[in-house]
């Protein structure tokens, strides 16, 4: 598939899918992202990221959970795949490793 590089927004979407666990669908992800980051997120960008992440194999999806307010339409529910979980972990480890290499003095200096 396309490259395995994970963009910042994509990473946030992946994490959100993880947070929402069994009710991770487009609008809920937008809401959660807005709540967590305080950014304004467009429905289309969320869906775009979801499609891309599914293409990359980090997510899988199924239909289900129709409600009245959706005009009886089903949701596309997303779920982290094994690869998705792994890539998040890798990303976190990479960050931690890099954090640890930053000399303490930098943080102290900054806090002045």
């Amino acid at each position: 598939m396309k490259g395995t590089y994970l963009g910042e927004f994509e990473e946030l979407v992946l994490l959100t899918v993880g947070i929402l666990y069994d009710d991770a669908y487009g609008l809920a992800i937008v809401d959660e992202l807005e709540k967590q980051t305080g950014r304004n997120v467009m429905l289309s960008s969320a869906h775009k990221a979801l499609v891309r992440l599914e293409d990359k194999g980090y997510l899988k999806s199924k239909m289900g959970g129709a409600t009245e307010s959706r005009g009886g339409r089903e949701k596309r529910l997303y779920e982290l795949t094994h690869a998705g979980a792994k890539v998040l972990e890798q990303s976190k480890e990479l960050r931690n490793a890099m954090w640890n290499q930053v000399p303490k003095i930098v943080w102290e200096g900054n806090s002045l």
């Binding site: 487009g26 609008l27 289309s44 499609v51 891309r52 307010s69 005009g71 596309r76």
Partner: protein, 889 residues
């Protein structure tokens, strides 16, 4: 917005169905659900209106590749693959048949190059004077005098007219005057120098103008202000080019300037204007102010003399036609009043026939045919002519393409059959051939643009223009690309439908041979091509003959070996001594002083003439009055048919006059010599000069008179010696003695004469070029067709040769058909050419006859070229070794 859902609360239905149409199945329901949920949330929060808009906005946001239907894409990939295949096949057939390909593309490219050049030319012509700030409100005034079927139009008005128009009519915001007539005091050309230098330089492009004229035109200034550049008396506005030449790197405003060495009246630079752009009919480098100027006493208020061109800026929304009728009040009070005061009999006629007209400034350049003025004008007919020629050349090229494509159809027939057998529909084949012809067209456009670029300098010379290819204009490349696709599709339509209609069973069985079905269509197109070419050849011949006729016609004077020395007016009275000294030089036959010359654009002086004492009763006869000296007719070779010439120094000759034959017949004199006539003063006719042409041969010879005067700015020298160079050198040394600070300027009478007919020459050159182009394109097509026929009938020819046919029989067999077509073209082209050229010649009062040799010659030429083209392949065929084409069977 329809709201037909039972749930009245829903978002607009059309937005939903639009979304459904473009969104792919994977996302459609899920996203729609999300959007509806969002919609309902917003509906309760912000109301229906806002929710609706936001819903639509959401839908639009999903117009992105990731959300679009994939089904389309899967279909696309097939089409794309097919297109790739089409292009590949097209490329292969292009490469396989190099000759046909290069003829197809070469012919096309030639046509396209011609079209590009001519389109740029037309664009330039149409762009004249349409860039002024208030352009749609700026008008030029002209006079129209219509009597007895003859309409006379001219642009000059008396000095006070502009002021009266502005004062009397609120519609006129500004009125500005211009004197563009060379020779009118300092208008035209002058010796020019800075006030602080002594060396004079000859400069051209002077005109007198009002301050309000530059206001109207909003001429941008480099130094000084438009509002007051010409406001002071004796101020002068110079162009940036001139400023750069004489005042490099300084601000010339306020600096003194001396014209014609006249230190008593210095001028002062009032401003430096941007050069007039190429596409305006006003081309001046120096504008001398009219402020405070009076050329003689009472001139500014007198209605006697018509020398001022007038430009108006009108109020927004003024109807120029309406204003024209209002302006007539000025005619009836001021002009008629002036005539009546002088007892002029023409007052009644003026009331009936004289009108003031307004012409939008953007139309001055192209639509001034028949209006006498001396500003630069073009001709809308030229635009049409050029455009027509370009169109025909392109058409010929397209026909070549169609002809060759259908002729070569046999080679493609099997491919068509095969494609159909494996499942192509007709539409696919049409698409294939259209793609192919578009490819050809694109390549041809590429080559054509290149050709146009190479041919541009030549074309500029041809049409006397300075065009460039506008590579960087935003529209240029897209327009070319668009035209390429359009032309490709148009030229490909017929072949595409023709080729795609083959029945696979016929083709594969082999019963369809040589694409002969369309041979009638092809014949018609060949006939069309050759008819066009022959008409162009005939046109070329006749234009050239008219040119020769003009240049060699007995014009009533001898234009050979006459040197015109200009700018002699600065010598003052010493010009007489100069003349005597020049006349006494070895190799010089004669010399004369006079600014009036039988070349249009030189000094003119129209006057009304009456029989003596009849100025109050008779109608005036308009005639030129030229000041000439006693050697004038001898120098220019005019013939006296009656009476005598002036005698130098004879006092009585100050009231003598010599008239031409046209003048005599206008007055109806039986014995003209001795008759007394008058304009402002009485004259006695002492001689009659044979009619000579002093204006273009387009018009007839008008009445003309000559009176005695030994002054003027031109000294004409008739050279008898054959060594022109040597004589010129000695003339120059004499001149330098007289005017050391002024380089001698001279021209030859015959060259100036030829320059009068530049438009005919241009037309001749244009016709020749495009006739050649048309023939080349037509011949390319014919050549390819004949080569193809030879190829098709290869076996037949071989068998004939084996059975004993001679080379000549084979040759006849192959050429006769084509020659028949060329003959038919001749039959069509000759009457057409005759008719067209006859109407062209009608513009000229003096014209060459159209004789049968022209047609015979054109016909022979076309036939000869056609035969030559065909025989190349035919001879090759008749001499080939039959084994070569037979052994393979």
């Amino acid at each position: 917005m329809s709201q037909s859902t039972p749930k009245n609360a829903g978002p607009p239905n059309w937005a939903i169905s639009f979304f459904r149409r473009f969104c792919n199945d994977h996302l459609c329901d899920a996203v729609l659900g999300d959007m509806l949920e969002l919609y309902n949330r917003r509906f309760t929060k912000a109301g229906k209106r806002k929710a609706d808009w936001l819903f639509i906005w959401n839908v639009i946001q999903f117009l992105q590749p990731f959300a679009l239907k994939k089904t389309k894409k899967s279909q696309n990939s097939n089409t794309a693959a097919m297109f790739k295949n089409y292009l590949k096949v097209a490329w292969r057939s292009m490469v396989r048949q190099k000759m046909y390909t290069s003829i197809k593309i070469g012919g096309f490219a030639l046509g396209i190059a011609a079209c590009i050049l001519i389109s740029l030319f037309i664009r330039q012509e149409l762009s004249y004077d349409n860039f002024y700030g208030n352009g749609d409100r700026i008008y030029r005034a002209y006079n129209e005098f219509a009597s007895e079927g003859e309409v006379n139009k001219w642009t000059s008005f008396p000095a006070p007219t502009a002021g009266i128009f502005k004062a009397d009519f609120p519609e006129v915001v500004k009125a500005g005057r211009l004197i563009p007539y060379p020779g009118w005091f300092n208008a035209g050309s002058n010796l020019f120098r800075r006030g602080d230098q002594v060396q004079n330089t000859y400069e051209e492009g002077f005109a007198y103008a009002d301050q309000s004229l530059i206001d109207i035109l909003q001429i941008p200034m480099v130094y000084g202000q438009t509002e007051n550049a010409l406001a002071d008396p004796y101020s002068i506005v110079i162009s940036k080019t001139v400023a750069d030449k004489y005042f490099p790197d300084e601000d010339p405003v306020g600096k003194p300037i001396i014209l014609n060495d006249d230190e008593k009246t210095p001028y002062k630079v009032g401003g430096v204007m941007q050069d007039f752009p190429n596409n305006t009919h006003l081309q001046y480098d120096y504008l001398i102010t009219l402020t405070g100027l009076e050329f003689w006493e009472g001139e500014q208020t007198s209605w006697c003399c018509w020398n001022y061109n007038i430009y108006f800026e009108l109020q927004p929304g003024t109807d120029p036609k309406e204003l024209e009728t209002k302006l007539l009040a000025v005619r009836d009070t001021h002009y008629v009043g002036h005539l009546e005061k002088n007892g002029d009999q023409s007052a009644e006629e003026v009331k009936k026939n004289h009108f003031f007209r307004l012409q939008p400034i953007a139309e001055v350049y192209l639509y001034s045919d028949g209006i006498h003025s001396n500003v630069e004008t073009g001709d809308i007919q030229f635009v049409w002519l050029f455009g027509g020629v370009a169109f025909f050349v392109l058409l010929l090229a397209c026909i070549n393409f169609i002809n060759l494509s259908t002729a070569k159809s046999a080679n493609r027939a099997k491919e068509v059959g095969m494609r159909k057998v494996v499942g192509s529909f007709k539409i696919h084949l049409v698409r294939q051939f259209l793609a192919e012809s578009t490819l050809y067209s694109l390549v041809s456009f590429l080559v054509g643009v290149l050709l146009a670029w190479i041919g541009m300098p030549f074309f500029n010379q041809l049409a006397d223009k300075s065009l460039t290819i506008p590579w960087l204009e935003w529209w240029f490349i897209p327009t070319l690309f668009g035209s390429a696709v359009l032309v490709g599709i148009l030229a490909g339509l017929y072949p595409a439908f023709y080729l795609s209609a083959f029945k696979p069973i016929d083709v594969l069985k082999g019963s369809l041979s040589s694409g002969s079905k369309s041979s009638r269509m092809r014949s018609i197109m060949v006939i069309f091509q050759f008819t066009t070419s022959v008409v162009l050849i005939i046109g070329t011949f006749i234009i050239y003959r008219q040119m020769q006729y003009i240049l060699n016609k007995k014009i009533g004077f001898d234009k050979e070996h006459v040197v015109l020395i200009q700018g002699a007016n600065t010598l003052g009275d010493r010009v007489k001594t100069l003349k005597t000294e020049l006349a006494s030089l070895a190799g010089v036959q004669n010399a004369a002083i006079s600014g009036y010359l039988p070349i249009s654009g030189t000094k003119r002086d129209g006057n009304p003439f009456w029989r003596e004492g009849k100025s109050k009763e008779d109608k005036a006869v308009g005639a030129q009055r030229w000041y000439v000296d006693s050697d004038y007719m001898g120098t220019l070779g005019m013939k006296l048919v009656d009476g005598r010439n002036f005698i130098q120094g004879m006092a009585a000759d100050s009231s003598s006059i010599i008239v031409n034959q046209a003048f005599v017949s206008e007055f109806g004199f039986e014995n003209p010599v001795g008759e007394r006539i008058q304009n402002w003063k009485p004259y006695t006719i002492i001689g009659v000069v044979e009619d000579f042409h002093f204006e273009s041969l387009k018009g007839k010879i008008e009445p003309l008179t000559m009176v005695y005067g030994e002054w003027g700015d031109v000294v004409s020298v008739k050279v008898s010696s054959s060594d022109m160079k040597e004589v010129l050198a000695s003339i120059k040394s004499v001149w330098d003695d007289f005017a050391p600070n002024q380089p001698m300027r001279y021209s030859f009478l015959d060259e100036s004469y030829a320059r009068m007919y530049e438009d005919v020459q241009t037309m001749g050159r244009v016709f020749t070029t495009f006739a050649v182009l048309a023939i080349v394109v037509a011949c390319l097509g014919l050549f390819a067709l004949s080569a193809y026929m030879v190829e098709q009938r290869g076996k037949e020819i071989s068998i004939r040769i084996v059975l004993g046919a001679s080379g000549r029989v084979i040759f006849n067999l192959l050429t006769l058909n084509f020659i028949k077509l060329v003959f038919i073209s001749l039959l069509l082209a000759i009457p057409l050419g005759w008719y067209l050229m006859k109407s062209w010649l009608e513009d000229y009062t003096y014209r060459t006859d159209i004789t049968w040799e022209v047609f015979a010659l054109s016909g022979l030429m076309a036939l000869g070229i056609a035969v030559l083209t065909i025989s190349f392949e035919s001879i090759k065929a008749s001499r080939m070794n039959p084994i070569k084409s037979l052994r393979s069977e």
